[in-house]
Symmetry: C2
Subunit: 68 residues, 2 copies
Amino acid sequence: MCEANVYLVREGREELLMEAVDVMEPRGDKLYLRNIFGEQREVAARLKTTSLLQHKILLEPLSEGEET
Amino acid sequence: MCEANVYLVREGREELLMEAVDVMEPRGDKLYLRNIFGEQREVAARLKTTSLLQHKILLEPLSEGEET
């Protein structure tokens, strides 16, 4: 099985958003995720990088309108 | 091995851009790809969708400035 775990990188820390993701798809400003269990969510984030060999996809939060 | 093949979808057809991709990372307007053989390229495209169970990542060309 070649799905990946999706993490949100916030302040240098990786927070697990969803395990075993099959589908990742931009929808407007959001990123739609669906995993092999049929769970779905949309997150206000964008792709940062992948390491598919490590089964990892890293996202970063949308920064527009956010304050540090 | 859980890498994916990256395709560019143009006019409904899938053109294989790179096999066995490990790393996919936005860099400015481009998308950087690196595969398990160490091949690298940057493409003027953005993520359209993934089906990691099928080892597929689909990209679409950047449309800005393009004419149909």
